[in-house]
Amino acid sequence: MLSVSAAYRLISFVKALRMRLNLAESETDKRVSLESPKGILARIQALRMAWIDNSRYFPLMLLMPVLIFFLLWNIIPLLWMVGMSFYNFSLITGQPPRFIGFRNFIDIYNSFAVWGSLGKTFVFVFFSVGIETVLGILLGILFWGSTTLPGRRVALTLLFSPMVLTPAATGTFYRLIYEPTFGAANYLTTLFFGTKIDFLGDKLWALPAVLLVDIWMWTPFMILITLAALGSVPKAELEAAEVDRLPWPKRFWYVGLPHAKFILMLGVLLRTIDSFKVMDLIYQLTRGGPGNTTEVIGITLFRKAFEGFTMGWSSALAVITLLMAIAFTSIFLYILSLRKRGSEV
């Protein structure tokens, strides 16, 4: 039960709000006394409806939760991180942060280890995305052209399963598969080549072995993208190609690809961004070893930030990697804009 004074305060508040919004008094309002609780509720409801109906505030209301979340969890930490990148600060020395300008960035620029990690990251991105794209398109075409194949749905479900596993779990069981004395991979190498390979311990094999796991895990994503892309090809054009008896490769190249290439490009770019920040899978498999053979930039950053607790330096490296990710996103947006331009022409 509202006390009388509280009810008056509420009514005044409602009135003031209504005046600010220039809301017209509804018929219901006229019939119900302002002082009665029923009247207050009716007014609150009317005001709420007015807010919802107002085209100016309604989108803002819908966006508000996301904006607040984004501000709290993205913008503020991001600005904090950018600020921190100009400081020398370690979480564990008990010393306060010390402003050092661009020294962290200069240090990173001069660091062979960082350049080495970046080099390995680009090698990893190039091969993983490249092979996943080729395999994904080939398998996607295979499934696209076999709609009446028995067990197609089961096969697709099985094929997509690696994608839904967590990288940590995948890394763990692949470590066992690669195990040199009892792993399944070495059972096969012994069977076919009569020799065992220390896949994760050998400096020559470690990166290809890690790449293979990533390809196994993410090729299904490219299959999915390919199927989605080919699904956007107009049926009439496909039927026309069939009437013209166009062979399959030409049918894909001249009919399918012009429509599918934008969605395929989206998949490639999403995979590029994802591969660029890979960390968990490799960490679980090799910890970046042997030596630093598989130490990609994500692992270097993890080590410095969460093993070394050098918050300033790590923030600087995170800012650099963020800029690189933004560069990838810009390419992605540019390519998507090409579609728009193409359709306008």
Binding site: S90, L91, I92, T93, G94, G289, P290, E307
Partner: protein, 484 residues
């Protein structure tokens, strides 16, 4: 008159008895415990999958019973855990926010500096002054240097040993005591296979290498030994240091905090070469071996011997191999004067107490630690597989017979045989740099041990210098050092 005298005498007697009784009653019984009747929930953060760490909590019901009986309050314990490599991260993230999420933490010894500098843990030196029950006589000064003291040599104490740990050699007696193997070994190398604890006490590393070579039979899925070379946390470091320390090398000067010029020495380069050479006698994939992988290799009978932490004795000695395993000191290194030196890395973890505990939790934490070091508690800890450090317990009758590895553990828990390294706040960064350098050489990514040492020394000197921990700047030549 006589009656009055008797009465007066009686009054005096009663007064004397009453006063004497008042002084004789212990204070603990006289004053009630401040938490009497209350219920306190405690949380311990420990190392995941690490038995001695787990024992701290597994034994907590015993403390709960003790506290209820002795102090009249109820205490319950929950256990949060993280693997070695993530433990500090987990602790730091709560302590940095002044949280008492974990009231007691089982830290690694090298974290003492990093926990002490920001004021996250309480100073045990001060605690001991207030609670003399915690002023315990430890088995050897190495216990104090390793688990309690920061900075090195300062005498300031920040931790108390939860469990001690040393490297021991786990040996398969079904192979070593087999007459056919003994005969074949004698014929091949002209020496006897060591049979007893004392034989291994006198075993040199070159002779051990012969043994490892002898048992390396890949066609039978058997290899001579197993060590740790993994890049994770400190695994590689802990198994390379024994070669460096025992051959006369050093890693830094703790006073000046000088690394460059000490770590990158010729002796240490030779130690690295020797350490890598030992991979010849280990199963394929040993470059990625950590504690768990080594346990697997030994319990699956893939190796004849294994250099392993005494703390995982229960995992190394299973029901299947219990009757055919003996635990002995690891081999020594012959010195120029003919003496035998073995200076291995020391493991083990200290208890540290969260400085942000409220009064009630702090009281229970202190009560818990006092209970932990009672001889009967320590003995129970030992029976369950933990390695105690209290002198009275280790020197008690029958201690060496409680667990198969206790004799080797006790033998190695000496300043002359086991050694810890940096308790620096910058520990983790320094460790990551040298793990990178050391594993690069062990795995063959880099073939020059001097270059790897140069890299680690430059990086560590730079870390210390830039953090203001050392006045010694890394030389300009460090700018060109890279692992290629």
């Amino acid at each position: 008159m006589f009656k009055r005298k008797v009465a007066f005498f009686m009054v005096i007697l009663v007064l004397v008895v009453a006063l004497t009784a008042a002084f004789c009653i212990p204070r603990s019984q006289a004053a009630e415990h401040p938490l009497k009747g209350k219920k306190i929930d405690m949380a311990i953060l420990g190392i995941g999958g690490w038995l001695p760490s787990r024992l701290g909590v597994d034994m907590s019901p015993l403390f709960a019973k003790y506290a209820k009986e002795k102090f009249g309050y109820e205490a319950s314990f929950t256990f949060a855990e993280a693997p070695f490599s993530a433990l500090f991260q987990k602790a730091a993230s709560t302590l940095a926010t002044r949280s008492q999420e974990y009231n007691i933490i089982i830290s690694d010894s090298q974290w003492l500096g990093a926990l002490a500098e920001p004021g996250w843990i309480i100073k045990v030196s001060d605690l001991i002054k207030k609670h003399p029950e915690l002023d315990i006589e430890w088995y050897d000064p190495v216990v104090v240097n390793t688990y309690m003291e920061y900075p090195e040599g300062s005498g300031e104490l920040w931790g108390l040993p939860e469990e001690g740990d040393t490297i021991a050699l786990f040996v398969r007696t079904d192979l070593f005591h087999d007459p056919a193997e003994k005969k074949a070994f004698k014929e091949k190398y002209g020496m006897d296979l060591p049979q007893t604890f004392e034989d291994f006490e006198n075993l040199t590393m070159p002779d051990f290498e012969k043994i490892a070579e002898f048992f390396t039979r890949p066609e039978k899925e058997l290899w001579g030994t197993a060590m740790q070379y993994s890049k994770e946390y400190d695994f590689m470091t802990m198994y390379l240091y024994p070669f460096m320390f025992s051959m006369g090398g050093d890693i830094w000067d703790p006073k000046e905090r000088r690394v460059y010029g000490i770590l990158n020495s010729d002796i240490n380069a030779k130690a690295m070469e020797w350490n890598r050479r030992m991979l010849k006698y280990q199963p394929p994939g040993a470059v990625n071996y950590g504690i768990a992988e080594e346990i697997d290799a030994f319990t699956q009978d893939k190796v004849a011997t294994a250099f392993q932490w005494a703390a995982v004795g229960l995992a190394m000695i299973t029901d299947q191999n219990r009757d055919r395993v003996m635990v002995v000191p690891p081999p020594g290194f012959k010195q120029k004067d003919g003496s035998l030196k073995r200076l291995y890395s020391i493991g083990g973890q200290p208890w540290v107490i969260n400085a942000y505990n409220d009064e009630a939790h702090m009281t229970v934490a202190i009560d818990f630690l006092k209970w932990w070091y009672l001889p009967e508690t320590q003995l129970e800890f030992a029976k369950r597989g933990g390695n105690p450090c209290v002198k009275a317990v280790l020197e008690g009758p029958g201690f060496e017979d409680i667990q198969p590895w206790f004799r080797a553990f006790k033998y190695m828990l000496k300043t002359t045989r086991s050694r810890d390294f940096w308790h620096e706040p910058k520990y983790s960064e320094m460790l990551a740099a040298q793990q990178e350098g050391f594993t690069a050489y062990a795995t063959g990514s880099v073939d020059d041990p001097k270059l790897c040492l140069e890299y680690a020394a430059c990086e560590q000197q730079k870390i210390l210098y830039e953090a203001g921990r050392s006045k010694i700047k890394p030389p300009d030549s460090c700018a060109d050092v890279r692992l290629r």
